[in-house]
């Protein structure tokens, strides 16, 4: 059977599964809609968190980025996993003990202020929209190649599916859908990785294959270093970013991970404080399976790509070059008209342009794996993108119906109306996300990196200080959030949108790229909060009692909406 037939079968089966789960687990109350009723087991929550977390960027873009960045790609690996240590140790148990529905809930109660709650709502909505745009784009890319439709059509199909189960099921629906999606995506990621590892190194475990020898007896990584330096690139294991930039980007991604509202909210769904700690551990195990495989996939992909294209005649290009050429994601231009592809660092002589996003998607084709594996990868990419998109849409709809309507503007709203409002908000959010997917503000992983910078600079400090400092007050928290957010946003926008031509290391502050600036935004947030809180009155006694209370695990109640 051809790739297209296999894709229809496998993608169709997984979609039927997700929709089935959504119908079976539809939400009947706001508590089910917001936190899945609060009774999810730590293991299931770990899997759901992993799927929620691993997005189109992790599944599709990350290995590709690593394969072109080599050592520099480590920022994503360490950054996106190291954040779970912060989550498990500094946030999850305390937020679970607090026991409400959302991050703005915590910020609003802890800082006894409607303004603080509103600032937090704006941050949450802003971060989630930035992030969800990347997911919808990812869905579009996968569809356009594998179902041979326009990217726009692909985005719309994705919107309809997400709409169905996020709106119907709320958190309860997406939790169990995400468990299924995790299984699909991890299987889809591992199968080609294992095949390719065996073909290149004879070792079935990709994590070990990466450090193994090729058929000719040289180590894979040494061989890659040699091939790349010969073509004028930096050695694979060295990278070319400044150390300070690597440091700042890694920190921004870690802290950002710990500050992402759609990840934090997952820890509200388990029954006990100790379950919140444990489920962060499970989540990282499930994430680590993919994240330790990605560097192997990246290196294998680069090696295969160089072997099959570099210095090969254009006339005898493999099938996959043509397939992906149709999507415009690969272009070959024979600049010196010698009929042979030169892939080199020098931009004037380089004849092969490859979009980094296709490395994972095209990898099975590059390695000539059977058609069903290729279709499986398509289903995995869709699972990754859809699960994250659903989690984000839920944050957006909860922010609007719970934080804005119920807790700020219409406190008298009935449970039933609140649930309807949540569903309407989710629908509207899908439409906006779809628009951003069709007219994206940048390519997938880059957009996602912004969300992290913003989460790092706004949420993380305000939550940490809320738990670890009894004297942090509302003035400090609000000004800290505003400063962190405004600074980070201004720096990123300047280099990405206002004056992209200036986006080179010479113009950056202290050599810090826009991707890493969230770390500095976070530091500013901490400093401003501290200074302002010293100049203004301390928080009232009941808030100080609240802080003491969330530090003690005993007495955690199921998440309720009571105030």
């Amino acid at each position: 059977m051809g790739i297209l037939t296999w894709t229809y079968i496998i993608v169709g089966l997984t979609f039927a599964l997700y929709i089935g789960i959504a119908i079976w687990s539809r939400a009947g109350s706001t508590k089910e809609f917001y936190v899945a009723g609060g009774g999810v087991s730590p293991l299931a929550n770990g899997m759901a968190t992993a799927a929620d977390w691993m997005s189109a960027a992790s599944f599709i873009s990350m290995a590709g980025l690593i394969s072109f960045m080599g050592y520099d790609g480590s920022v994503y690996l360490m950054g996106w996993t190291g954040g779970y240590v912060l989550l498990a140790l500094l946030l999850a148990p305390y937020l679970r003990k607090f026991g409400k529905f959302t991050v703005p809930d915590f910020v609003g109660d802890r800082y006894y202020s409607r303004t603080a709650r509103l600032v937090a709502v704006i941050c949450a909505i802003f971060i989630s929209f930035t992030y969800v745009a990347g997911q919808m784009r990812g869905v579009g890319i996968v569809f356009s190649r594998f179902l041979e439709v326009e990217i726009e059509t692909g985005v719309i199909i994705g919107m309809v599916i997400v709409l169905f189960y996020a709106v119907l099921g709320g958190m309860k629906g997406i939790t169990y859908t995400q468990v299924a999606q995790f299984c699909v995506l991890i299987f889809a990621y591992m199968v080609p990785a294992v095949f390719i590892s065996i073909m290149l190194t004879g070792n079935p475990i990709p994590q070990l294959g990466l450090g193994s020898e090729l058929n000719d007896g040289t180590y894979l990584l040494d061989k890659l270093d040699g091939m790349l330096t010969e073509l004028g690139f930096a050695a694979y294991t060295d990278g070319s970013k400044a150390t300070i930039d690597v440091f700042f980007i890694t920190a921004a991604l870690m802290v950002g991970t710990a500050g992402l509202p759609h990840v934090i909210v997952r820890f509200f769904t388990v029954p006990k404080v100790k379950d919140a700690r444990m489920s962060a551990g499970y989540a990282l195990v499930f994430i680590a399976i993919l994240y330790t495989t990605a560097p192997a996939v990246g290196a294998f992909g680069m090696y295969n790509m160089l072997n099959t294209t570099s210095n090969q005649p254009i006339a005898s290009m493999p099938q996959w070059v043509g397939n992906w050429g149709k999507t415009g994601l690969i272009t070959v231009t024979d600049k010196n008209a010698d009929g042979i592809i030169q892939y080199v660092k020098n931009a004037d002589q380089n004849e092969l342009a490859i979009d980094k996003d296709i490395m994972v998607l095209a990898n099975p084709e590059i390695a000539r794996l059977p058609n069903w594996v290729i279709a499986l990868v398509a289903a995995g990419g869709l699972a990754a993108a859809l699960s994250t998109a659903a989690g984000l849409l839920l944050v957006i709809s909860t922010s609007i119906s719970h934080d804005l309507l119920k807790n700020s503007f219409m406190p008298g709203i009935s449970e039933k109306s609140e649930l309807i409002a949540a569903r309407i908000a989710a629908t509207a959010a899908v439409v906006v996300a779809g628009y951003f997917g069709i007219y994206p503000p940048g390519f997938v992983a880059e957009v996602v990196a912004f969300a992290f910078g913003l989460a790092a600079a706004s949420f993380f400090p305000v939550i940490i200080m809320g738990i670890f400092s009894k004297t942090m007050n509302k003035q400090g928290a609000i000004w800290g959030m505003v400063t962190g957010l405004a600074f980070t946003l201004a720096y990123i926008s300047y280099f990405k949108f206002v004056n992209p031509a200036a986006n080179v290391p010479e113009n950056w502050w202290f050599n810090i790229s826009p991707e890493g600036i969230g770390t500095l935004g976070m530091v500013l947030n901490f400093i401003v909060s501290f200074l302002i809180s010293k100049m203004t009155p301390p928080p009232p006694a009941h808030v100080q009692d609240l802080v003491e209370d969330i530090r003690i695990p005993r007495g955690a109640v199921a998440s309720t909406g009571a105030h």
């Binding site: 360490m78 240590v85 994590q207 450090g211 990584l221 890694t250 006990k272 680590a288 003690i552």
Partner: protein, 87 residues
């Protein structure tokens, strides 16, 4: 009640000490081994891996997983010792 408050402060102090130690390990395996000392460690080899590169792309992640499970274990023990566990 006063006594209980003192005990809870002691619990929190022990909790924060655990956090400091584990976060120091978190910092060392990623920022120190994977970034700041990467060139020095790359002189050492682990099969086909240079050690600094291994920490950056594999070792730090395995360490993170271990750190969280050690945290869960230590905290469950601490909760029981101070009788604040939930079951």
């Amino acid at each position: 009640m006063e006594n209980n408050k003192g005990r809870m402060q002691e619990y929190w102090k022990r909790n924060v000490r655990i956090l400091f130690i584990l976060l120091a390990l978190w910092f060392i395996v990623s920022f120190v081994f994977g970034i700041l000392l990467v060139d020095e460690l790359n002189a050492i080899r682990l099969g086909g891996y240079k050690l600094g590169f291994w920490f950056a792309q594999q070792g730090s992640i395995y360490s993170f997983v271990i750190i969280i499970f050690v945290y869960v274990w230590l905290m469950n023990k601490l909760d029981r010792e101070f009788d604040v566990h939930e079951d």
